[in-house]
């Protein structure tokens, strides 16, 4: 009860959990365990004690993260810049492989599949875990070719009609079909920013992945385009498991069911989004989402 008697001047919340004595010792132990429930009853991806190093071990980017991403849920990852949220996202489909000197330890599983198994084929993995990037990055090809590229290289379509169908359903699912059906031959780069991003989502779902990773998918979009993508994310949740990294707390609050807060490579708190945004359990989460990072 002591801490709660702190007066309003020092902020009613900044000290909710901070012990008053010995700040230094506290800094060490404040990260030790993740607050909240890292597990999910029906996990699709489960990370266990994951550590990520860059520069051949010189930089410890992710520190002992254990986290489940449940089937059919949208998990939002938030945190200040450099907290490692993008790093862990990119570990999930091994996009970090291409970075020199990046080492990953611990276990990351997609269902029963060990993602960091030495014998695992990365191409196969990425057919199961799609990714959407920060900046809309359609290929400088036609809209049709953009969506058809994935199925083509993986040989998912038997013939042209099959491919046409995949392209159409993917574009429909990405809520873009009505807008582009008359100009499939035009370059994808000619679309507006929001349409481009939905095209990228269509391209990702054209290979029918189980999981879609989104790395700040709306940070380059205007609010209306953002709203459309958010609506789409909500619809996609029916079929896919989605992990989204975002800088917008409002967006995390709007689209996700669970929210994970990262800080300096630690997973500080995981809780239902409802809880995180009304009553976060860790003072760092609290400070971050109320805008008290200086």
């Amino acid at each position: 009860m002591n801490t709660l008697s702190e007066t309003i001047e020092t902020g009613p919340d900044a000290n909710l959990i901070v012990p008053q004595e010995n700040e230094g010792a506290f800094r060490e132990q404040q990260f030790e365990d993740t607050v909240g429930d890292v597990t999910h009853p029906n996990p699709r991806i489960s990370c266990r004690e994951v550590d990520v190093y860059y520069d051949h071990g010189a930089v410890h980017a992710i520190k002992n993260v254990t986290l489940d991403i449940g089937t059919g849920e949208v998990l939002a990852m938030i945190g200040p810049s450099g907290c490692g949220k993008s790093t862990i996202l990119r570990c999930l489909n091994r996009m970090n492989d291409s970075i020199d000197g990046c080492q990953v330890s611990g276990s990351i599983r997609l269902d029963e599949l060990d993602i960091y198994d030495k014998n695992l084929d990365v191409v196969l993995l990425r057919a199961q875990i799609g990714m959407v990037f920060q900046k809309p990055n359609p290929f400088p090809k036609s809209i049709y070719d953009n969506v058809a590229y994935g199925p083509k290289i993986h040989g998912l379509a038997k013939d042209k009609t099959d491919l046409d169908e995949i392209v159409q359903t993917s574009l429909e699912r990405a809520a873009l079909w009505e807008e582009v059906k008359d100009r499939l031959g035009q370059p994808g780069t000619g679309l507006s920013g929001g349409q481009q991003q939905r095209l990228c989502i269509a391209r990702a779902i054209a290979v029918s992945p189980e999981v879609i990773l989104m790395d700040e998918p709306c940070s380059a979009l205007d609010p209306i385009a953002t709203a459309k993508v958010e609506e789409l994310i909500d619809e996609l949740r029916q079929q896919y498991t989605i992990a989204i990294v975002t800088h917008s707390m409002q967006q995390a609050a709007r689209v996700s069911q669970r929210t994970a807060y990262f800080h300096l490579g630690h997973l500080v708190e995981v809780n239902t989004t409802d809880k995180v945004f009304t009553n976060p359990q860790h003072h760092l989460t609290e400070a971050y989402i109320t805008g008290r990072f200086g």
């Binding site: 489909n93 996009m95 291409s98 020199d100 990365v122 191409v123 196969l124 993995l125 990425r126 057919a127 799609g130 990714m131 959407v132 990037f133 900046k135 990055n137 359609p138 290929f139 400088p140 590229y149 994935g150 290289i153 993986h154 780069t189 990228c200 391209r203 990702a204 290979v207």
Partner: protein
């Protein structure tokens, strides 16, 4: 407003004229610099053009030729070999003697024969070989005039100079004037310049040999250097691990681009000719040397073209599950291609203008025949220019300039192509 704000405005306003003046001065200096550059380019072009444009015309002399069977084919065999090796010059000499019957002196006769080119008999031979029927008949033929006559026609020999200081003596001038009176002197378009190889006789010298030599050499250079350079660029940029070794390679490539080209010539001489026994003076060995020289240029250009492809495209392809090779060939390479081509064309233009390394591998040899393949002895345009510029005859001056014009035309065309390619395929992200 209060006074401090006013004073800020006042101070700023007081400084404004100075700032604007400085800006105007800077602009003026820039314009001056560009103007100066343009003036020099204009002078260069004007000089070359004014010296060289006359080379595109050549003086011809009309001569009544009797195809005397006793001279051409004394045995009457009509054997093409006999026809080919007959002394056609004798026919010309005879015709000239008929035009100027008063010339009897031996030395005077030799001077008389100098009115036409020593190679003029070639024309007669070609006509006879094309149609052996004409042996025994007489016809009018326009043959190449000697270079001195050509120079006289083009006004490069001053009649007012004392005879001893002139290339042509008074007697030759008189003969020339008589020919002019007979309308037997005419300037025509200089086909020889574009159709024949080098010659000791300026009027017979052409750039065809050098052009073909350049063509074969560049073609081989392109074939060797483009795939090699693009391949190494892709490997270094996209696949090679970034470590001390690749750093070393990168530094060396950059250094190679700055190595004086003559070193490459020496290397070519030592390695390709002396060690591997590649025939010297050929487009093949020239291309090998030029490949070494252009590789760094194209590699550097290709790497920067690859670097300019946004990483988001690679991520997009990788994210869908394209293999690294598919990512490169389906997405990155098509986007980097215009930049690579631009670099290649610039490298090729550089190779086209290169002289020094080729001197070392014998491509400076005097070669009359137009090369027919990659292993024929050949020379290239810039070397040809170098050779001609070195020749004492006055008539070679205009040929040198003309050859420079041709070379410049090719260089400008290539650079223009590079610019157009870049414009055409440029993409915005």
């Amino acid at each position: 407003m209060t006074s401090p704000a006013n004073s800020t405005v006042d101070i700023v306003r007081a400084g404004l004229p100075k700032r604007y003046a400085r800006e105007r001065r800077f602009r003026l200096m820039g314009m001056l610099a560009i103007g100066l550059g343009l003036v020099f380019v204009a002078i260069l072009f004007l000089d070359i053009f004014s010296k060289g444009y006359t080379a595109f015309q050549q003086t011809y002399v009309r001569i009544q030729v009797h195809y005397d069977g006793s001279v051409i084919d004394p045995a009457g065999t009509e054997n093409p070999d006999t026809l080919a090796f007959a002394d056609y010059m004798a026919l010309l000499k005879q015709s000239l003697r008929e035009v100027f019957p008063e010339v009897t002196d031996r030395r005077a006769k030799r001077d008389l024969y100098q009115l036409v080119s020593p190679g003029a008999g070639q024309v007669l031979r070609d006509r006879v070989l094309a149609n052996p029927e004409i042996v025994g008949t007489t016809e009018e033929v326009w043959v190449l005039a000697n270079d001195d006559i050509d120079m006289l026609v083009k006004g490069h020999i001053d009649r007012d100079l004392p005879e001893s200081n002139r290339r042509l003596d008074d007697r030759s001038l008189a003969w020339f004037d008589r020919l002019v009176d007979q309308d037997a002197i005419e300037k025509r378009f200089n086909i020889t310049f574009f159709s024949s190889g080098d010659s000791r006789q300026p009027e017979q010298a052409g750039i065809a040999g050098a052009l073909m030599g350049s063509f074969y050499t560049l073609l081989l250079t392109l074939l060797f250097s483009f795939p090699l350079a693009v391949g190494s660029a892709i490997f270094l940029e996209e696949f090679a691990p970034k470590n001390k070794w690749t750093d070393l390679i990168e530094i060396n490539i950059n250094n190679l681009a700055a190595v004086p080209s003559i070193i490459f010539g020496l290397l070519g001489l030592a390695v390709f000719i002396n060690f591997f026994g590649v025939p010297r003076s050929t487009p093949l060995v020239g291309a090998l040397v030029l490949t070494l020289m252009t590789l760094p240029t194209i590699i550097i250009a290709s790497r920067s073209a690859l670097k300019s492809v946004p990483p988001s495209i690679r991520e997009a392809a990788m994210g869908i599950g394209a293999s690294p090779l598919q990512t490169q060939f389906h997405h990155v390479l098509p986007l980097a291609m215009p930049g690579m081509l631009t670099g290649t064309i610039i490298g090729m233009a550089q190779a086209l203008g290169e002289t020094a390394p080729l001197l070392m591998i014998g491509m400076i040899a005097f070669i009359v025949d137009v090369p027919q393949g990659f292993t024929d002895p050949a020379t290239v345009l810039p070397v040809q220019i170098f050779l001609w510029a070195d020749s004492p005859e006055r008539a070679f001056v205009e040929r040198t300039s003309a050859a420079i014009m041709v070379l410049l035309a090719f260089l400008i065309t290539m650079n223009l192509t590079a610019v157009l390619l870049r414009k055409r395929f440029e993409r915005r992200w």
